[in-house]
Amino acid sequence: MTARWRWPLRVVAFGYLALLVVIPVGSVFYRAFEHGFATAWDAVTTPDALHALFLTLIVVLIAVPLDTVFGVGVALILARHRFPGSWLLDALVDIPLAISPVVIGLSLILVYGKSGWFGNWLAAHGIQVIFSLPGIVMASAAVALPYVVREVLPVLLEIGTEQEQAAATLGAGPFTTFRRITLPSIRRSLAYGVTLTTARVLGEFGAVVIVSGAIAGRTQTLTLFIQDGIENLNPTGAYAGAVILALLALLVLIVLGGDPERRKRRWRSPSDQFPSDSETPSLSTT
């Protein structure tokens, strides 16, 4: 392309990003602190707001480890063990990506709700899933289920089993082999998978709104608190809540690390696909 197209293309690209992403996100920060920091602080330290924040964090603390263990387990199974129907397991893991979160929430109600398949049994044992914490955790864990598998599996397939076999030959047990050989090789993709999972669980709305009942101070997560604030005239609370959620999501990205280069690497020839930990990620300097 000739140089005369450079500026028009830049204007289109930056203009679109600015109007769609940068200015809108900036304006939420502006709105949150429009009436001063104290007002925003007051709006997110009400009992309902604090409860929503704690509930969101509790859900993250339960759902993310569950999905991580499941994700690594399934990735190991799919990469190392062939059994009848393993292709089916591979395909089924992706279901949550293909289904609307609202539908996932609804589907949980149909199994664990009052009129659901397990409804009578759960009621008889005094367990409430829908409209309480277990339901919220299940909905969040369900929507975020595929991320760890999808990040870890390609790397496991890529690194092969030679080193693991060597470790086993030298007398290492399966757990030592996993801890000393497998885990270090998948570390980065695992961190990225956990990042995606956490971001998704933190911000999940559609699946949670339907199973939680959104009762303020009881089953209202931070995302539900924000929506409630907008619809019931507590905009400052909503904006401040949105800022907290956005900052939490950014924190997760920074601590665990996004890896934009990863996608590029995967499209290359297999010989240079191996992700080494010494490689510093930088965004497409090509």
Binding site: R10, A13, A142, L245, L283
Partner: protein, 282 residues
């Protein structure tokens, strides 16, 4: 079949361990995984299908052919398709600038593209409502209109559209373009005959992912669309309001239609990927 970890079997002293490893690998591991998957996903999805058809096919058809359901499904499909097409073009331009152009702050632009991914959908909806809602500083109010839905969908699907094209563009051999140009091809011809054919599979994959995401989108749309029946009510909000009024069978029926559409799209992407040997991007 055969042994999955052959070397373990080769260690004479490792017989017991081999058995334990096989048990973990073949029985305990898969069973636990399948149980978890069943409790969270498989049983619930089966429950949707069973509930949708619990009143017979007649009841199912009635639920999905009801005017409000048809309007919601149609709106969802049209908006999602439009956004997928438009965002693929915008994504190509943005990816082009990121790959071929050089400017300070490239990393920041890269992070901005991933922002819609990290940002909770409700926050995304709120950000757009702030700037393009009733209190818009630009005087543009799209709240309660279809333009608002398109805007929200464009926001959440942007990363798919950029990230699917970017790697292909980065790998593209510039020599072919230069050769074409030196043989007298205009930039438009180079774009049409050299660049577009190479990036088309990536663009299509991105558009497919964006479409699949858009038809199920709820959080970002719900605040800005206002959920006006027949006007700005998308399929997922219709399912939500059905479930709120305890009409779970109708909600399940509409869900089945949505699931069928996204599965069809994702299978199409899968076939496309296999054909062009593209690995998954997101």
């Amino acid at each position: 079949m055969g042994l999955s970890v052959p070397a373990l079997g080769g260690v004479p002293a490792g017989r017991g361990r081999r058995r334990i490893d096989r048990m973990i690998g073949r029985v305990a591991g898969p069973s636990l995984a399948v149980t978890y998957l069943s409790l969270l996903v498989l049983l619930p999805v089966a429950a949707i299908l069973s509930r949708a058809l619990s009143g017979g096919f007649g009841a199912f058809w009635q639920a999905v052919s009801q005017p409000e359901a048809v309007a919601a499904l149609k709106l969802t499909l049209v908006c999602s398709l439009g956004v997928a097409v438009f965002n693929s073009l915008a994504g190509l331009v943005i990816a082009w600038v990121l790959v071929r152009d050089d400017f300070p702050g490239k990393r920041v632009v890269g992070a901005v593209i991933d922002l819609p991914f990290a940002l909770p959908t409700v926050v995304a909806g709120l950000t757009l409502l702030t700037l393009y809602g009733p209190d818009s500083p630009f005087g543009v109010n799209v709240a309660g209109t279809r333009a608002g839905i398109v805007l929200a969908l464009a926001f959440v699907t942007l990363p798919f559209c950029v990230r699917s094209v970017q790697p292909v563009l980065a790998e593209l051999d510039r020599e072919t373009e230069e050769a074409a140009a030196s043989l007298g091809a205009s930039s438009a011809t180079v774009l049409r005959r050299v660049v577009l054919p190479s990036v088309a599979p990536g663009m299509l994959a991105g558009a497919g992912l964006a479409f699949a995401r858009a038809i199920g989108e709820f959080g970002s749309v719900v605040l800005i669309s206002g959920n006006l029946p027949f006007k700005t009510e998308v399929a997922s909000s219709w399912i939500y309001s059905l479930s709120q009024s305890d009409d779970l069978s109708a909600a399940a029926a509409v869900s089945v239609v949505l699931i069928a559409i996204s599965l069809a799209v994702l299978i199409a992407i899968g076939l496309l990927r296999r054909r062009f040997e593209i690995d998954e991007t997101v």
